[in-house]
């Protein structure tokens, strides 16, 4: 992974970074953002910038009186030892899945319960809040994902291998941010299976009758 870090060419957009910093993105998008940042120091630094903006926005709000006993109650809460925040994730060595993603899957690539979605492509839908959805895609080397358009925003983060579409080549760590204007046919590069983490806040639209019927059954 360390070597990939210098090669990342396609980054998160500023609105996504700001949305993550603000804590207002759907959970599925947060997962893609947190996973990309685990692989990309440029975006980690950019996120820190947007978090600094959030801090200044907070500082600028008109202070609201807290309860009279708020400090005492907080100290009692601390003394009770009952309150602890979640620890930040760490990556299991040698996994293709960065830490935040490991919290959502049980196992590594070959032990997951992939479901075939046609054309040799498999997927695994991850459980998140319903305002958006996120899945792992496994595209065999040299295979194309059916041509599709988008109603909302689609984020596709490459975890392993690479794909090429009408826009560019996307290798490990790269993220493609697609909106309604983009119709694309991603093709996995030869060499190794391409594993992607893909999130969308609206159903994908496949062009062509057969994929459209398939779409009903596979739920993407």
């Amino acid at each position: 992974m360390m070597n990939d870090m210098t090669k990342i060419k396609h980054h998160l957009t500023e609105p996504l970074l700001m949305g993550y910093a603000a804590g207002t993105l759907p959970e599925a998008f947060n997962l893609v953002v947190a996973t990309h940042i685990s692989m990309c120091d440029d975006c980690r630094a950019a996120l820190a910038g947007y978090e600094a903006v959030g801090g200044e926005v907070m500082m600028d709000t008109a202070p609201v009186d807290v309860a009279e006993d708020a400090l005492a109650a907080t100290l009692a809460l601390i003394d009770s030892g009952k309150f602890a925040d979640q620890p930040a994730p760490r990556r299991t060595k040698d996994s293709v899945f960065p830490g935040p993603l490991q919290d959502y899957v049980s196992g590594d690539i070959d032990s997951l319960k992939w479901r075939k979605v046609g054309g040799g492509v498999s997927q695994l839908v991850l459980k998140t809040s319903k305002d958006a959805s996120v899945r792992l895609l496994r595209i065999p080397a040299g295979t194309a994902v059916p041509d599709h358009g988008h109603r909302g925003t689609e984020l596709t983060l490459v975890l392993q291998g690479a794909f090429t579409d009408e826009e560019d080549r996307f290798g490990a760590g790269d993220v493609e941010v697609a909106n309604e204007d983009l119709h694309h046919t991603p093709v996995a590069e030869e060499g190794m299976d391409c594993i992607c983490l893909a999130a969308t806040d609206a159903p994908l639209r496949f062009n062509g009758l057969v994929p459209r019927i398939a779409q009903r059954f596979i739920g993407i």
């Binding site: 998008f29 820190a48 600094a52 926005v57 609201v64 009186d65 100290l75 925040d85 925003t153």
Partner: protein, 218 residues
């Protein structure tokens, strides 16, 4: 109060309680190196010292200072984000308790105290208000030099201060849009790609700090 009486020219006259002894050097250094926004930067370094006092000595007086300043702002932020006053009060106390518990995680070369407390409040907002799981980036393990560099820490405090001032001087309409994004009134597709905020300097500084950390980890 430490935060209110601190001025640069009189660094040696600071009313520093005995528990802050170990941290005096930080403030002195801040006074010597700061060239811009000196008063505000000193105030930010005073918060850093207070977090250190909580971390090193479980200092309740230092915690009370931080609480007095930040809790009303955290509560305000949470209410603007849609929390009822009661829920915001409860969350605010949990945010400040988290500050105590995580004081050892605070790194002034990567965040100002205001930024750090904001991220804790943001996280609590997702946990309680949005009731969603909260994926976070992998933590970067520390290299051999665990104690952050003071000049870097001061530099970051200055840049955060400049960012705050830039925000304050943005045209009203633009500033309101940014505030609405942080209060959750805009979706990501409604957020403008160009904010008008000078984020380049702070990004580069943090990027360099990450490079050094990666280098030390090798």
């Amino acid at each position: 109060m430490l935060t209110e009486t601190t001025t640069l020219r009189k660094a040696d006259a600071l009313p520093v309680p005995s528990t802050y002894d170990g941290a005096k050097a930080h403030l002195k250094r801040a006074a010597e190196t700061s060239k811009v926004n000196t008063e505000q930067t000193t105030k930010r370094m005073a918060w850093v010292v207070q977090v250190y006092a909580v971390r090193d000595n479980q200092d309740r007086a230092a915690f009370a200072e931080l609480f007095g300043y930040f809790a009303p702002r955290v509560k305000s932020f949470l209410m603007k984000s849609g929390a009822s006053p009661d829920l915001a009060e409860e969350c605010t106390q949990e945010v400040m308790a988290t500050l105590w518990n995580k004081a050892h995680m605070f790194d002034p070369t990567k965040a100002s105290v205001s930024t750090w407390i904001f991220t804790i409040a943001r996280n609590r907002k997702i946990d309680i208000l949005r009731k969603q799981r909260r994926p976070e980036p992998e933590d970067l393990p520390w290299g051999p030099e665990a104690e952050p560099d003071q000049a870097d820490a001061i530099g970051l405090q200055q840049e955060t201060e400049q960012l705050g001032q830039a925000l304050a001087t943005l045209p009203e309409e633009q500033r309101k849009l940014i505030e609405r994004a942080y209060f959750g009134e805009l979706t990501h597709s409604q957020i403008a790609a160009e904010t008008g905020l000078p984020l380049g300097t702070i990004k580069s500084r943090i990027r360099l700090a990450l490079d050094r950390l990666r280098h030390a980890m090798k």
